[in-house]
Assembly symmetry: C2
Homo-oligomer: 257 residues x 2
């Protein structure tokens, strides 16, 4: 053993097989369409049981690197996955990780019926009573984000009595209501009159707009529209599905222009 293998936490065999094959693919030695040896062949090669190989291959399929067909075999995938994992932090966490003091204030709060024209906001489409809020989030002394939120009171009746002073609606929901799915829509928009007033930005200045719809099983839970002023805010999405956190990675060490 060399000194180079410092504190190697004994990677499991299926992990090593996975890394080997992923390495062959990512390096280009196994081009798109390449026929990967069968599980039995690989098991023989690695001197292990077939199930150990199977575990590695299953994970490679999940990552989109490999496609498998019965009887035909396993092949390097041709559809290079054009998806990435988008990390959507809690706003408080986000602000505090910038080293700033977080604070939020409830600008408006009402319990009312869902209005016409808001039907498409909740998903699946819903009607009935909702809690509707406008929330402003601050980073230090500056407005950081303006949030419009609707909470379905049919899904979350306890939201009717919550004052959301200690904890903002988003965080409150996250720790209170279980949810099974969410959809985010991200776009750029010019500041409208309300944003100009509440975020203290110039009219029509560019803003990042994030709409989030959350549901549980087949019931709508909440809708949120988050507006971040200017180009000060950015989202980061990384590819490589939990690819064992490349320590020497590009995530650090370069400034954003």
């Amino acid at each position: 053993m060399t000194a180079a293998s410092r504190a190697a936490p004994a990677p499991s065999l299926h992990q090593r097989i996975l890394d080997d094959i992923a390495g062959h693919i990512l390096s280009g030695r196994w081009p798109v369409g390449h026929h990967i040896p069968s599980e039995l062949e690989l098991a023989t090669r690695y001197g292990c049981a077939r199930m150990t190989v199977s575990k590695a291959m299953t994970e490679l399929v999940r990552r989109g690197l490999v496609e498998r067909r019965r009887r035909a075999g396993s092949f390097v995938s041709r559809t290079r996955s054009r998806s990435a994992v988008l990390d959507i932090p809690d706003i408080r966490t986000e602000v505090e990780s910038l080293g700033l003091v977080y604070r939020h204030e409830i600008l408006q709060s009402r319990c009312r019926m869902l209005q016409r024209g808001e039907a498409g906001l909740l998903v699946p489409a819903a009607a009935g009573r909702v809690r509707a809020l406008w929330v402003r989030h601050h980073a230090g002394s500056r407005p950081f984000c303006l949030e419009f939120r609707i909470i379905s009171l049919e899904s979350v009746p306890e939201a009717a009595d919550e004052r959301f002073e200690a904890v903002a609606p988003g965080a409150w929901l996250a720790q209170t209501v279980p949810w099974s799915g969410a959809e985010h829509r991200i776009q750029a928009a010019g500041a409208d009159e309300r944003i100009v007033r509440w975020l203290e930005v110039a009219p029509q200045s560019p803003c990042l707009l994030i709409e989030r719809r959350t549901w549980r099983q087949d019931v709508a839970v909440t809708f949120a529209r988050l507006v971040y002023p200017g180009d000060a805010h950015q989202l980061i999405a990384r590819f490589s599905p939990d690819m064992t956190h490349r320590a020497t990675g590009p995530a650090s060490g370069h400034g954003i222009p």
Copy 2:
């Protein structure tokens, strides 16, 4: 068997266990922090081998619903995963899925040394010769997207001779060069002078700006900055990592306001 179970493709046992437990968690019956029965207990309950349970639990950990600690046991995760899968389509695909005719044109193209101030664009930071391009993508008769791209010629020497007329650089790279990771940064920005001219938009109008850095193993491959005019363009990110494709889902059936 009831008539309701139509064409059920015999879900595997570990899948059924997974669905059961996910159902308990997502419905709230098992709240955050709930102690999930041990693998042995579950195996007894389901009358199966421990490994079958293990497979389900491992997947639940991957999805962020469950945390496991040795000796202590398995618990419903408190950190509800705030990540989503962002789908980043190829521009041509995107345009054509809108029912429009796609076209791209190379506005500028040079092989040159990487300039000072561009050092942070490639990741890991690199120097040396690059192919630098400005590309304009059209949807029908309208400009759709402006792309600034840098390709490392050390990683992709064959990019020096490619004309990128038949196929745009992004698509060409996707089908030519294997890559292991990518990072996207998404933000809103006002249109600068170049964007105003080439995308035919008003000065300072809001644009969606996507920067993509791609690398292979530990070598930088390419950098791309894509600018989409106005609020016409949006990205969509869905939560629930391949959560067995909710057919009756919110992905369809509601118009975007």
